[in-house]
Symmetry: C2
Subunit: 117 residues, 2 copies
DNA sequence: ATCAATACCTTGCAAAGCAAGGCATAGGCC
DNA sequence: GGCCTATGCCTTGCTTTGCAAGGTATTGAT
């Protein structure tokens, strides 16, 4: 069943679309963070690996949409860090996403329960 | 906040990626169904509108990947219907998706709870 | 000076959702 | 027969995202 594993892998990539944006905003709701910090935090707390090639374009989009703001700060013995924080609009969007996600999740849970009842 | 509504709308489109495939497979796990039946059933039971331009390419992909099989049957006073059913491989894939989704969902729920604690 | 670690960014490709439009079948009606 | 409507399936073109691969800049240690 190696073929199916491949299919599931591709499916998981699709499921991550949108979800990663959601998770990053959730992480930033707690506190301002910079790129690497977000990657390690999300990996630790949600077991979600967000590669750099995904994270940075995502953060650029969020900035362009004004859901997050950013500022540079000298790094702790390393390259300078770009800290991201939620804007008020970002908080509004996050609330809407949580509502939407919760609704979706209930619907899916209901269907899982129904399928195996 | 009309702009944010637009952003959320686009976000929801992204979140549906992969999720619709999952929901269709769940629906087919209960019983064999044809296209329109899937659309109305999923709309009713999960409040998810799956437009035709999404559904039929999706079903074609599932067929090509051999997760579902299909057969034509004369319609009940109308055009012939194409009935889809899960294959054994489809059932295997569905089990894997449920496991993956459940895991993801716990992670996200945890982050939502953490963000607003 | 060189090396490694930290940290950010860009490019090119694959994949999905969707609006818009098209095609075919069947039955009812004149 | 000819026309209309409803049912039902499919295709095209566009947008958006995730990601691997590779690149750049800063800092401190050897």
């Amino acid at each position: 069943m190696d073929r199916i594993e491949g299919l599931i892998g591709k499916w998981e990539v699709q499921v991550r679309k949108g979800l990663l944006e959601f998770v990053i905003l959730l992480a930033l709701h707690e506190r301002e963070q910079y790129g690497f910090e977000l990657m390690s935090g999300v990996a630790r707390r949600a077991s979600l690996d967000v590669p750099e090639g995904t994270l940075y374009p995502l953060l650029l989009r969020l900035s362009k949409d004004a859901l997050v703001s950013s500022r540079f700060e000298p790094g702790d013995g390393g390259a300078p860090r770009k800290y991201y924080a939620l804007t008020p609009e970002g908080r509004t969007a996050l609330r809407a996403m949580i509502a939407s996600w919760t609704r979706l999740n209930h619907a899916v849970s209901h269907m899982i329960a129904g399928a195996y009842r």
